[in-house]
């Protein structure tokens, strides 16, 4: 019998923060940090010896590092999509996922940027990009875009975190002194007054719109690095939208995997419900179909155009040496996810986790089949290049993944993995859509199917109706946790 009330939802989310770290957690984080350390050693070998320690050669000048770059930047777009674009459109099922999505953005972006730095022959000259900028280069604009994106999303992540840090400050009396000090400092004196909520609401909405533009421009720019060259296989018109789409696709898949992980670890079954995941699955299904469309269009143009150099790459991908990778990629990005997601009964959380991982593998392979074959088949017949990642490249890839996961796990020990105030908002919202006289701050979960406090998609109660409810206007505790409600009050 699950009875979730607003205050209980809070403690449920905060409970994992008070529990001492188990040996499983310590061992996992330790292992991840060790893998990351090993990757730094591999990198140091590369700095010492030169990029010759990789599998790169003439003409495959770009390999796993650049693939990782596109992959990590792609994953980071999940955060922006779920937390900003879905926040602007006020999509209800996003709420339990926003915090994790933003964390994925903030923690995967540095590894995307690092992937480019690892790829440099002279990482010691990195600052030359600032000292001698050359504005016709897509790489320079990548630097501009990605640093803007990193700063903005860090700020956005932090701002949405402030009310929850304040919650930690107020509700976790038994934490060690250093954590108390950390929460006190980071909470910025947040008291949850209407003025503060209004400011936060405005800031988040404004930044959401800015991030919306950024998410498109960042990955467009990443695609420019390839599309703006004359290289066969890269020089296509659809590459930018395809990149943005692929980024969002892999990002949402990653959010699902990590959300399911924390749902299990932190016992958040009643806050992240099956219904949330099912909505997410439908969204993923739509992305999956779009992905197939873009993939077909891209290759159909090449096939129909019959340009010699382009066709050589297409053949290498379809039935040549890259065929195993290419068709695995198609299976991972479309075949397997579509089959599972298309059947409503198969959209279980366990299946979604598997699908999420499969999509991530598929999207990584997609970048591989974009970047490597184009390198291996240049215009002039210099002889076909082969490329096999070396142990250094494999180590760095593993290290970056481990570092990313370690940061997420460390974060989840210190701060709530759910946006508590947004989840509370959802608890409140649900009552208006149900229109039932439920006591303020309490939501009855009993006997409901699937979950009465999750409004059906597109069937939410209108916000104006919410504002007219007299019992709500007087509910002070609810006002504190409903910023959008406060701003609506201000308008009327």
């Amino acid at each position: 019998m699950a009875e979730v009330t607003g205050p209980e939802a809070k403690t449920r989310v905060l409970r994992p923060l008070t529990r001492p770290a188990g040996w499983g957690y310590t061992l996992t984080v330790g292992g991840l940090v060790a893998i990351f350390g090993w990757s730094l050693y591999a990198w140091s070998r590369q700095i010492q010896t030169g990029l010759g320690v990789t599998g790169l050669n003439v003409p495959v000048f770009w390999g796993v590092y650049i693939i990782n770059f596109v992959f990590f930047i792609g994953i980071s777009h999940a955060g922006t999509l779920i937390s900003s674009i879905l926040r602007i459109t006020d999509t209800p099922w996003r709420r339990p996922f926003t915090r994790l999505a933003e964390a994925i953005t903030v923690f995967s972006l540095p590894f995307g940027a690092l992937s480019v730095i690892v790829d440099l022959g002279r990482p010691d000259r990195l600052l030359h990009v600032v000292r001698y900028p050359h504005f016709t280069s897509a790489i320079l604009w990548d630097v501009v875009c990605i640093s803007t994106y990193l700063i903005t999303s860090c700020l956005y992540f932090y701002l949405a975190l402030v009310p929850d840090i304040a919650l930690c400050r107020d509700r976790l009396p038994e934490t060690p002194a250093w954590r108390k000090r950390l929460y006190r400092t980071l909470a910025l004196g947040w008291q949850g007054t209407p003025v503060q909520w209004r400011t936060l609401d405005r800031l988040l909405t404004g930044m959401s719109i800015f991030l919306f533009a950024l998410v498109v421009s960042v990955h467009t720019n990443v695609s420019f690095v390839f599309g703006m060259t004359l290289k066969p296989g890269w020089h296509t018109t659809i590459i930018s939208p395809f990149f943005v789409l692929g980024a969002i696709y892999s990002g949402v898949a990653t959010v699902i995997v990590l959300a399911a992980l924390f749902r299990r670890l932190y016992r958040l079954e009643d806050l992240m419900t099956e219904a949330h995941f099912r909505s997410c699955a439908k969204f993923l299904l739509a992305l999956c179909c779009f992905w197939l469309y873009a993939m077909i269009v891209e290759h159909l143009f090449v096939f129909y155009g019959k340009e010699t150099a382009e066709l050589r790459i297409l053949e290498a991908k379809f039935w040549g040496p890259y065929a195993p990778l290419f068709w695995t990629m198609v299976a991972c990005c479309f075949g397997i996810p579509f089959t599972v997601l298309a059947v409503p009964r198969w959209r279980t959380i366990r299946n979604l986790v598997v699908i999420g991982l499969v999509i991530d593998v598929g999207m990584w392979l997609e970048r591989y089949t974009i970047i490597v074959p184009s390198g291996a088949y240049p215009y002039l017949p210099w002889g076909v290049g082969t490329y096999r990642p070396s142990w250094v490249e494999v180590s760095v890839t593993a290290g970056w993944l481990a570092g990313f996961l370690a940061l997420i796990l460390l974060f989840a020990r210190l701060f709530p993995v759910l946006t508590v105030w947004e989840v509370r908002e959802e608890l409140g919202e649900a009552r208006f859509s149900l229109g039932a006289p439920v006591p303020a701050g309490t939501v009855d979960m009993a006997g409901a199917s699937p979950s009465p406090w999750i409004p059906p998609l597109g069937g939410r109660g209108s916000p104006t109706g919410a504002g007219q409810s007299p019992s709500l206007a007087t509910d002070a505790s609810l006002q504190r946790f409903r910023p959008s409600f406060v701003s609506k009050m201000r308008q009327t």
Binding site: T49, L51, G52, L56, V58, F61, L120, H128, P133, T229
Partner: protein, 229 residues
């Protein structure tokens, strides 16, 4: 304005590779090891592109000497994030080694695959290391390099003619490969002078340029070999 250009007569070229050796010696290009060769990592500012036409038994094979084409609109210069590669006032695509960050974007952007990357610190046998050309800077690991039409020779020619108090004539400046060719298959000169040998060859009906359709306007012309009767 002088536009330095080259014409390569494939009719005259015997594929002896004297140009390849001359280039490597002149520009301090490391020999490279067999391992590097297997990995496809040799650096050759000038190298032979093998071309095989037809099917057995009617096969025609040839090798074509290729160096940087010094495009009028070089795709490699647009993409460099630090402007380490650029087209200098003489129309030669230059590379600033100390500025290059080694991102290999220009190497990727070159449609002809004629730019090179230092995968390792370059090494020479001890006797050769003492005999590097002092006029050409040595490159570090992790930077891109390329043919410069022996640009240092242009500097020397300018100094020499200034000392002699006379204007620079096209014959004062010839890259090492041109000088080394025993058949005189490589012709170098000013494309803007309609009477220069290179301009005349460029107008020949046999003349063609590689991947002209991409619009990079290479300044290296090739003269097709007439098929043997």
């Amino acid at each position: 304005m002088v536009r330095w250009a080259m014409a390569i007569d494939l009719e005259k070229c015997s594929g002896c590779q004297a140009c390849v050796v001359a280039c490597a010696a002149e520009n301090n290009v490391p020999l490279g090891s067999p391992q590097e060769a297997t990995m496809g990592r040799l650096i050759r500012w000038l190298q032979m592109l093998p071309r095989i036409e037809g099917e057995y038994p009617h096969v025609r094979a040839e090798v074509i000497p290729m160096m940087c084409f010094q495009c009028e609109r070089p795709p490699c210069t647009y993409v460099c994030p630090v402007a380490a590669t650029y087209k200098n006032p003489q129309g030669i695509v230059a590379q600033i080694y100390w500025r290059c960050i080694g991102c290999r974007y220009c190497v990727n952007a070159c449609p002809f695959t004629l730019k090179w990357f230092n995968w390792f610190q370059p090494r020479w046998p001890a006797t050769m290391a003492e005999a590097t050309n002092p006029d050409v800077s040595l490159r570090d690991k992790g930077v891109t390099e390329k043919c410069t039409f022996c640009h240092h020779r242009l500097q020397q020619a300018k100094d020499r003619t200034r000392a002699e108090g006379r204007p620079l004539r096209p014959e004062d400046y010839r890259p090492a490969c041109v000088e080394a060719c025993p058949q005189g298959a490589l012709v170098f000169g000013d494309l803007d002078d309609p009477e220069s040998p290179v301009a005349r060859l460029a107008r020949s009906p046999r003349a063609f340029r590689f991947l002209e359709e991409l619009g990079t306007q290479p300044k290296v012309y090739f003269l097709a070999a007439t098929p043997e009767a």
